[in-house]
């Protein structure tokens, strides 16, 4: 187990390092950072001065190491547009996206895993067809359309939920559903096919042959196996959701990372875009790590040799 964790951790760190290099290069390849910083109408002398002050004339690797050293101390640099520390900006927006992502994933899992299980237990029945229909609809409908539909129904027509803002928990309901629904079809289909396979397997036949109660057979001896690939998929889907939050947060004016990214791209606030890239990639790597650890906990063949 220790060896397994060490190996996975090393891999995660490697992924984060590679991403940080990409994020760093982003700034230095997207133009001359000194010219950008000096602003429009700056003379060559001004730009040279900026270059000198901020060390842009040093070798790239030295600048990179310097940047990483600062990152490790929590110094993400400064947004010249907002005139704020990037770290502070992130700290303000990140919890909102984290909450949204967790709620969206929770919604997706609560909807799709039970549906997948029931569809596998009673294939070709009403419930199976209903979940298939739901999956097709989820795959076919662009998420912004679905979000607008929700907004119209619950926000404008029924007036049950606020249509925009970040103030209360009610603001999260529609965005979480809109974002989570997007992940539902894949998770449901994978749960269904996984359950169909496991229900045919020898050890489930053994569990039945020894008179174990149906729920024990279904949850303990079937779902535990079927859920293993779903865990990995859910991690990937949550990563997609972090990406998708750029659309959903903008539609619902939820001031999370996605919203911030949208704004920062518009005003070419490269420091913030760089930090967001790094944060999302790190989150992605950590999610994969968590998924692998969860799988190891679920399946002893991964952790015990």
């Amino acid at each position: 187990m220790a060896a397994f964790i060490t190996k996975r951790l090393a891999l995660t760190v490697l992924v984060i390092i590679v991403t940080s290099i990409v994020a760093f290069m982003l700034v230095h390849l997207s133009g001359d950072p000194a010219a950008a910083m000096a602003g429009e109408g700056a003379t060559d002398a001004d730009i040279a001065a900026v270059r000198e002050t901020y060390g842009f004339n040093r070798p790239l690797y030295a600048q990179y190491l310097d940047w990483v050293a600062k990152l490790l101390q929590g110094d993400f640099g400064r947004s010249y547009y907002l005139r704020m520390d990037v770290g502070d900006v992130l700290a303000e927006h990140m919890p909102i996206t984290a909450t949204l992502g967790a709620l969206a994933l929770g919604f997706a899992l609560l909807l799709s895993v039970p549906l997948g299980v029931f569809a596998a237990l009673w294939p070709n029945t009403m419930i199976d067809r209903f979940s298939l229909w739901l999956a097709v609809a989820g795959q076919a409908l662009p998420s912004f359309l679905f979000a607008l539909g929700l907004m119209y129904l619950f926000g404008v027509y029924l007036r049950w939920l606020p249509i925009s803002g970040t103030g209360s928990w009610q603001n999260y309901i529609m965005p979480a559903i809109a974002l989570g629904y997007y992940a539902t079809p894949a998770i449901m289909r994978l749960t269904r096919s996984g359950m169909m396979d496991v229900l045919q397997s020898d050890h489930v036949r053994t569990a039945r042959a020894y008179g174990l109660s149906p729920w024990r057979v279904i949850i303990k001896h079937s779902l535990r196996h079927a859920i293993i690939p779903v865990v990995s998929l859910a991690a990937v889907q949550l990563g997609f959701m972090l990406g998708g939050s750029i659309v959903i947060e903008t539609i619902f004016s939820l001031k999370g990372i996605g919203y911030l990214a949208w704004e920062s791209i518009q005003r070419a606030d490269i420091e913030i875009i760089q930090a967001i890239l790094l944060v999302i990639a790190t989150a992605y790597a950590l999610l994969t790590l968590v998924a692998d650890l969860l799988n190891a906990a679920l399946d002893p063949r991964i952790r015990v040799s």
Partner: protein, 343 residues
Amino acid sequence: MDGPILEVAGLRVDIPVDGSTLRPVRRVDLTVGRGETVAIVGESGCGKSLTALSIMGLLPRSARPSSDHVRLKGEDISKASPRRWRKLRGDRIAMIFQDPMTALDPCYRIGDQMVEILRQHRSISRSDAQARAVELLGKVGVPTPEERLSQFPHQLSGGLRQRVMIAMALLCEPELVIADEPTTALDVTIQAQILRLLRDIQRETGIGLVLITHDLGVVAGVADRIVVMYGGEVVETGTCDEVLGAPLHPYTEGLLRSIPVPGETRQGERLGFIPGVVPRQSGEQTSCGFLKRCPYAMAECAGGPVAIRDIAHGRGVRCLLPPDPGARDPGLWTRFETEEVAS
């Protein structure tokens, strides 16, 4: 009290498959007495597993079983409710499966799987259940049973896992154990050990044992009686000595010819075999099921399905030939094989 443990009469299993109906089990009668080992023997595909699964109520969902009755100690279980089935399975009838590599749940420790079964059927504390598991693992020859409790199936060899399955089957002291090809997936050296273990356990506990195998060679010394199946039917029954010593059905004869006899079969000598393959069983029978593979086939054999003929108590054969193997010409087999190889 002294009646048979298991009585199966007229068992039949139909499986509808795209438009037509497979009939993999057609008419199976089977009786297992107290303390008796009955071997069900036949080539693979002749319906042995489906017979076992119908006795356990574990047929695939698509299968349609029917029978005159399936009695466990007098109780007709063929129409039992799912609830009643769950009470019986694991407690009064237990089953041992062919592949010990996949029959145990890889996600749970051996001890937890055994405790779970015991506690499903008995109100017993966890520690008592564990003690019982250790006792049984010891009894079936698993070394250091306490340590095995906390091991996962993949940490054990195939032979050990099959011993664990046997211990699992014995947990609740069942009256009947069905072992479906329990040694087929194991190394040859382990096979004999497991069979001996099953025989010893059966003798010690007095359970009824149904031993299913495609290998007539392994039943001698283990089984009391043999039921030979072909194409979903019982074609011959008798004691072990009767069936192995004086087989009445040409199919049994053919099976015996294909077993290597130690000392008698010389290196390089070709074993006999039964030409042809087990036909796919669909539709109703219009002739003897073995007709196409039988070297002694006569015109009457094509006349219609053949009924089982009782020769003596517990001795029966589904064949129109006179029940006198000595009167047959074994040379017919050789000629038959040659034609098969030539064609």
